[in-house]
Symmetry: C2
Subunit: 106 residues, 2 copies
């Protein structure tokens, strides 16, 4: 039997701004965070945009390790949630700024 | 005679959020941006923290290419300015969120 280990998530006290910014500096990861913010928790399958599983797994790992996303497994389903309250407490205004639509370029 | 070419700076219409976030995902670069925001324009020498010139040059290049910093040369002096108004217009609230002191970790 394959033993499933739970995913590791840093406590909010260990969040590092630079790591959060790095996690969000990729279009796919930024898109995942925006999707979770708008639509609530979602499975990896709902968020993969048809990309290869290995690619998407890597992106979720980066998001988890930065503290942006909580992944919980139920059987083979992995449900992802944005850690919004904790992020807002540590970095007030940051997610709000990132999640608003960008003004049209001048 | 060595011909000095002016630094390249993207117009605000070409700013890309992911690139801005990447530029800010490094402690040295984030520190430079915070210093410029608090104290106004500064030379590279005032911002290098005693680091090797090649290291600092690389960081300024990343900051310039993302649109965060404007570097203007007068003779051998390179003066750096945060492109705050343009950044605020393109990404409202982002710099404000990044420049405030971080709340103490819980």
């Amino acid at each position: 039997m394959l033993l499933m280990r739970p995913y590791k998530h840093p406590p909010a006290s260990d969040f590092v701004l630079e790591r959060v910014l790095y996690a969000l500096s990729d279009s796919i990861r930024l898109g995942i965070v925006r999707h979770l913010a708008q639509h609530g928790p979602a499975t990896c399958g709902e968020l993969d945009g048809g990309r290869p599983k290995s690619t998407v797994s890597h992106h979720f790992k980066v998001l988890r390790e930065a503290g942006l996303v909580l992944t919980e497994s139920t059987g083979t389903t992995h449900m992802n949630t944005l850690r919004r309250a904790e992020l807002d407490a540590r970095f007030p205004g940051l997610l709000a700024a990132l999640l608003q639509p960008e003004p049209a370029a001048a």
